[in-house]
């Protein structure tokens, strides 16, 4: 099964990190990712820009492009990992290791994926 590990945290707090702190967290997360890659579990990884850089497309008869998502909640989707694991427990273990390395509060959502197309671009 492929799982998406969706990372939620307060954008405000992440944006208050110093460059050094940010680099340190990325380094620590990289170490866990390297291990998951070696175990052939790791798929594509994405870190998202702040929601302030995003637009939303409202679907309907006429599509509408809006700013946002306007964050009504305290935490935003900041990025995600994809892992391929035999069991949910295994995916939870991977998420736990990443959570420990991130050293932050916030929350990971572990969501099984229905469709997974790693790379459709031709090289």
């Amino acid at each position: 099964m492929h799982y998406a590990i969706l990372c939620y945290d307060s954008e405000e707090v992440i944006c208050a990190w110093s460059k050094e702190k940010d680099a340190q967290v990325m380094h620590d997360l990289g170490a866990v990712q390297d291990r998951l890659v070696a175990e052939r579990k790791m798929g594509p990884v994405a870190r998202l820009m702040p929601t302030t850089a995003a637009v939303s497309l409202r679907k309907g008869r006429d599509t509408l492009v809006l700013d946002g998502p306007f964050a009504e909640t305290k935490e935003q989707l900041l990025g995600f990992y994809t892992v391929e694991c035999d069991t949910l427990d295994e995916a939870i273990e991977a998420a736990k290791d990443l959570a420990a390395a991130s050293g932050s509060a916030g929350c990971f959502e572990i969501r099984p994926m229905m469709i997974f197309i790693p790379d459709r671009r031709t090289p």
């Binding site: 405000e12 944006c15 702190k21 302030t52 637009v55 700013d67 946002g68 964050a71 050293g103 932050s104």
Partner: protein
């Protein structure tokens, strides 16, 4: 288990909102600041043990407010303090406060706090100082270091600025939409000032002032979160990110300034560039152009060019033309001339800036540009005269050194010109 850093970062991130709410309660900058300080100290003690609260900002406001109320009571009536338990039993109170403090409240509170720091009665440098102290929470020694003044002098400057604010009318009511828009632009301008304070100066100064650029970007992000559909605020944030993306390439190993087209572009911060471009692309969709957006668009064109030769000068020239209409200024025209020279040649540029001679007579960059254009036209005498004028107008050693190199190159290019026998 939370990272020990987490508490500190969460407090820093909550600071603008918390101080802003406390300012609304107490209507005194000093009391709001002290109250926040008190709450922050308690958070540092409590959070690592009990775990972080659900809403750190609401917790800090609540605890800060109670602490300051204590203080006010103690000093007004000398009555007995309420027992500590009423303070520490915050769970329900916190939830209640979160209910009541909706986004709209937060937004006008933070805007008010930022606006107080951008007060037109304050000279620009005081605005910057006050914002760094009160909104960003930089310590007095940190700010003093950035401005190359003593701590005592800086402390006095901040005290004076606060006294000035206390005397003026701070608007505590809910602003009308028009007032809100005015405040947003006053604040945006102040944030740009903070950035410029950090960005100007020589290599050594810039190193000490770099934190100001980071703080300005944080403030711009804060304003953008409050007003996420304002294209000019997107433009401001994009502009700061794009300008700051070049920080590592602006000075060489000897601390000499490196001009844009000579910078090592591999040193540019691609992450900042990507976000800056995303923001300006998004802003332009609103079709409400403004000066920050235009400047950001110009910076984005430079950022997109892999080499100086890839720069879309025609587009830059058009954007400066737009900026000239929005904010007519001889300096903007001078910048347009640099772009025009790349498209239509140096003579066109010289013709464009000839009428500015009087207005920009004391301006280093004007004479430097005239020298450069004249040299490209082969007018050695005019080039030399302009470069000498530029040296006279230079404000830093590195500016003067840069022009001296131009003169040396001129002498090497035109060795026959006997005027060069004289020392410069």
């Amino acid at each position: 288990m939370i990272d020990p850093d987490w508490t500190g970062t969460a407090i820093t991130a909550a600071r603008p909102q918390a101080v802003a709410a406390l300012l609304r309660y107490f209507r005194s900058l000093d009391l709001a600041e002290d109250a926040f300080q008190d709450a922050a100290l308690r958070a540092l003690k409590t959070w690592p043990v009990k775990g972080p609260p659900r809403d750190p900002t609401a917790w800090l406001i609540m605890v800060g407010r109670n602490a300051a109320l204590d203080y006010v009571r103690r000093h007004s009536k000398q009555t007995e303090l309420p027992p500590e338990e009423t303070l520490s039993d915050l769970d329900d109170a916190e939830a209640d406060l979160v209910e009541r403090l909706d986004t709209g409240d937060y937004r006008d509170d933070v805007l008010r706090l930022l606006f107080v720091c951008s007060h037109p009665d304050l000279p620009p440098v005081h605005q910057v100082t006050l914002a760094l102290r009160i909104v960003c929470g930089l310590s007095v020694p940190q700010i003093a270091r950035a401005f190359f003044t003593g701590e005592k002098a800086m402390e006095q400057r901040i005290t004076r600025a606060k006294a000035r604010i206390a005397q003026s009318d701070v608007p505590y009511g809910v602003p009308s939409p028009a007032e809100r828009a005015d405040r947003v632009y006053a604040v945006a301008t102040m944030i740009y000032l903070v950035f410029n304070e950090g960005y100007t100066g020589n290599a050594k100064e810039t190193e000490a002032r770099a934190p100001l650029c980071d703080e300005a970007i944080r403030l711009a992000r804060l304003l953008m979160r409050l007003f996420p559909a304002e294209p000019e605020i997107m433009g401001l944030t994009a502009l700061l990110l794009l300008q700051n993306s070049r920080a590592a390439a602006r000075f060489d190993g000897n601390g000499e300034a490196v001009l844009l087209d000579q910078q090592d572009r591999s040193l540019w911060d691609q992450r900042a560039i990507a976000e800056g471009i995303a923001l300006i692309d998004k802003a332009i969709r609103h079709r409400q152009p403004g000066a920050f957006q235009v400047q950001a668009a110009i910076a984005a064109i430079h950022a997109r060019a892999a080499t100086p030769d890839d720069t879309d000068w025609a587009q830059i020239e058009r954007l400066y033309r737009t900026l000239e209409q929005m904010q007519p200024s001889p300096v903007v025209t001078l910048n347009r001339a640099v772009a025009l020279a790349k498209i239509d040649g140096s003579q066109a540029a010289l013709d464009l800036i000839a009428p500015l001679a009087e207005a920009l007579d004391g301006y280093y960059y004007y004479h430097g540009a005239v020298g450069m254009f004249s040299r490209q036209m082969g007018d050695v005498g005019a080039a030399r005269e302009a470069f000498i004028r530029a040296i006279a107008c230079s404000k830093t050693l590195s500016e003067a050194a840069h022009i001296r190199r131009q003169l040396d190159q001129l002498a090497a290019e035109f060795p026959a010109d006997r005027n060069f026998s004289r020392d410069v």
